[in-house]
């Protein structure tokens, strides 16, 4: 099985969706949409936006999950209802109470509109130590880092700079193709 280097699989940062840290949540979504349109050649679409400071350094990442979480009503009562499981209620009961509560909440379009105007930095996540991988690391190392941290992507570094992003989908494709190639060779009677 071919052991790829990370730099062979990553998406260079220039091709990735990025926004400055002054951008709004809506501008981040627009950037993501634009990057996806320009990246039609690949089978896997972009699933995150990188947030850059004024020196073009990556300071955070906004994933699709972060984006959707931003649209959830920010409400202490709702957060308390979500904690009901600790009082012995089933998930179904929690959902029932949540629906009842949301009947009297502001319309969802109002929530979207309010969130869209907020700064992206309010919702982005700053990368943690385990989310960086060197460009010369092997596929095995990257694979372990993705699975151990349950990450959907890793930031690829060269010295102190971030030069790209390694996505779970690309790693999966590389592993799958290598495995397939290896199995076919074995079926043809080749030995390793």
């Amino acid at each position: 099985m071919k052991n790829y280097k990370v730099k062979e699989l990553m998406v260079p940062i220039a091709e990735y969706a990025t926004v400055p840290e002054t951008a709004t949540l809506f501008e981040a979504v627009l950037a993501l949409e634009k990057a996806q349109e320009q990246f039609q050649a690949t089978r896997y679409s972009h699933r995150a936006v990188l947030v850059l400071d004024k020196n073009k350094k990556v300071v955070g990442k906004l994933s699709q999950m972060d984006f959707l979480s931003a649209l959830e009503p920010q409400d202490t009562n709702l957060e308390q209802i979500r904690m009901f499981k600790q009082f012995g209620f089933t998930r179904k009961a929690v959902v029932l109470q949540q629906e009842e509560y949301l009947k009297n909440s502001p319309p969802i379009l109002d929530v979207y509109s309010k969130a869209a105007k907020n700064r992206v930095t309010q919702y982005m996540r700053r990368p943690t130590e385990g989310e960086y991988v060197n460009e010369n690391a092997s596929l095995d190392v990257a694979l372990h880092q993705l699975t151990a941290g349950s990450n959907l992507s890793l930031l690829v570094t060269r010295d102190k700079d971030i030069i790209g992003i390694l996505r779970l989908a690309d790693v999966f494709a590389a592993v799958y193709h290598s495995m397939k190639e290896s199995e076919l060779k074995l079926a043809d009677g080749e030995t390793e």
Binding site: Q80, F84, F87, G88, T90, L96, Q97
Partner: protein, 473 residues
């Protein structure tokens, strides 16, 4: 006084250690809340009857204004105007039923209070924990004004004002103001103010949460000042009547009391009140211009004013009933606040259950139909729709239901039956069914209690502390 202050610091530290996981600091809430000078002002007292074991042991504690009955131990604690009522403790030779176990009780059960600070609390009932059958313990706990610790061994907890822990072993928890918990066994939980939670695992689970903004009007407590709101104003306004019963040696009863009824020496009974057969009026209860029908009871810290109770009514610890007419067998749970007005009376039909910690506060006449379960906050007739259900309909629930801020899951039938059986047991224990020679309860047994007083060191380093005292038959 030095020793008293040292004791206070010791208790606070112990509670905070237990609550460190919840990042809860009791210090700012309780420091300066009860000035130490106030804690030296009042005598403590205990009751003697032929019906209850007498075994009291007090060590290195302040007991200011507190009352003790039965087998009680208090060590390294501050008890301010609290009632420690050990008249339902298990006795040697009793048998305790728990699931399929039939557990013999080897010695008289004791209420054991250690390293705790209780302010105007009621401690009553017995330990329902099969692991601690003979010890109803309260340890490393701070419990605020008018909290009820009812059949609930408690360790490492903070209980907010007007909160209740009922039939629950509770460890390392914070229970917010006016929260009610009856959940069997819990630990490491932070329960928000105004939560009413009744759970029997694998059977049913009930939860109601008060809207914080509306609850604050009734009870609000934060660091730097005593609890505030309608509840505190209500009891403060009637404080003077209690000062008199605690200061005077011989109290005249303004109304006639039937031979089968019991009026506690430390209750306040105002004129124009009628007391029926088998009625129990406990200490620190307040009854004014009201009628208590046969078998009704008014427990500790209850207020019944300008109201009529038809009979067999349970008014549980801390409940208040004002300008109301209650049919037979109406149950009013712990710390409920039912307030009609002179021109807007509250009527509750017979056999209804007012859940613990319910507030009905109205300005227009309101009628709760017979046989209903009522919970939460009701200010208008419209609130009845979301905050009550007929017991018959509630019994039909077999999955889950959500009405407003109330969530229920499990068997409605089990829930209703559990409440009804418990109400029957309370009436039985209180002597409501006494028939002249059978079914004696608290109303009959508590008629002749002798009271003795004890006092602390008047000055010096030990000022406010009571000497070590062991009182036995």
């Amino acid at each position: 006084m030095k020793e008293l202050e040292k004791l206070f610091d010791r208790i606070i530290q112990r509670v905070n250690i237990n609550l460190r996981e919840l990042e809860f600091d009791v210090n700012p809430l309780v420091r300066q809340l009860i000035p130490t000078a106030q804690m030296t002002k009042f005598y403590a007292f205990y009751g003697i009857t032929p019906h209850h074991p007498l075994n009291l042991l007090f060590r290195n504690s302040n007991l200011s204004g507190s009352y003790f009955l039965g087998k009680v131990g208090v060590t390294n604690s501050l008890l301010y105007k609290s009632d420690i009522r050990g008249d339902e403790l298990k006795k040697c030779g009793d048998s305790f039923q728990y699931q399929e176990f039939d557990i013999p009780v080897d010695q008289d059960e004791q209420i054991s209070i250690q390293d705790s600070f209780l302010i105007k609390n009621l401690v009553h009932n017995f330990s329902h924990d099969p692991e601690t059958l003979e010890s109803f313990f309260i340890q490393d706990t701070v419990s605020m004004h008018y909290a009820n610790i009812h059949g609930s061994p408690t360790n490492g907890c903070y209980l907010g004002p007007f909160s209740t822990v009922d039939l629950t072993t509770i460890r390392d928890c914070v229970v917010g103001a006016y929260a009610y918990v009856q959940a069997g066994e819990i630990s490491h939980l932070n329960i928000d103010p105004g939560t009413v939670w009744v759970r029997k695992p694998d059977d049913f689970n009930f939860m109601y949460r008060y809207p914080v903004s509306q609850l604050s009007n009734y009870i609000y407590f934060s660091a730097g000042s005593p609890p505030q709101g309608v509840f505190m104003d209500f009891v403060e306004d009637r404080k003077e009547a209690f000062q008199r019963v605690f200061q005077v040696v011989n109290i005249d009863t303004p109304v006639s009391i039937p031979a089968s009824a019991s009026l506690d020496r430390y209750a306040v009974l105002k004129p124009k009140t009628k007391i029926g057969e088998n009625v129990l009026v406990a200490q620190r209860a307040f009854v004014q211009n009201s009628s208590l029908g046969k078998g009704a009871n008014a427990q500790e810290n209850c207020y019944i004013i300008n109201s009529k109770l038809q009979g067999n009514n349970v008014t549980a610890h801390g409940a208040k009933i004002i300008e109301a007419d209650l049919g037979k067998n109406v149950f009013v749970g712990f710390n409920s606040f039912l307030r009609g007005r002179p021109n807007a009376r509250l009527t509750i039909g017979q056999d209804s259950i007012i859940m613990p910690h319910t507030i009905i506060d109205i300005r227009k006449p309101l009628t709760i139909p017979s046989g209903h379960l009522v919970w939460g906050l009701i200010n208008t007739a419209g609130d009845i729709e979301t905050n009550s259900m007929s017991l018959k309909d509630f019994s039909k629930i077999d999955t889950r239901i959500c009405k407003g801020s109330m969530l229920f899951e499990g068997s409605g039938s089990s829930f209703v039956t559990a409440f009804q059986e418990r109400i029957h047991h309370i009436l039985e224990a209180n002597g409501a069914f006494y028939s002249g020679n059978a079914n004696r309860g608290h109303a009959q047994r508590n008629q002749n209690i002798s009271f003795n007083t004890i006092q602390p060191y008047p000055e010096g380093d030990k000022e406010g502390l009571y000497p070590t005292i062991n009182i036995q038959p």
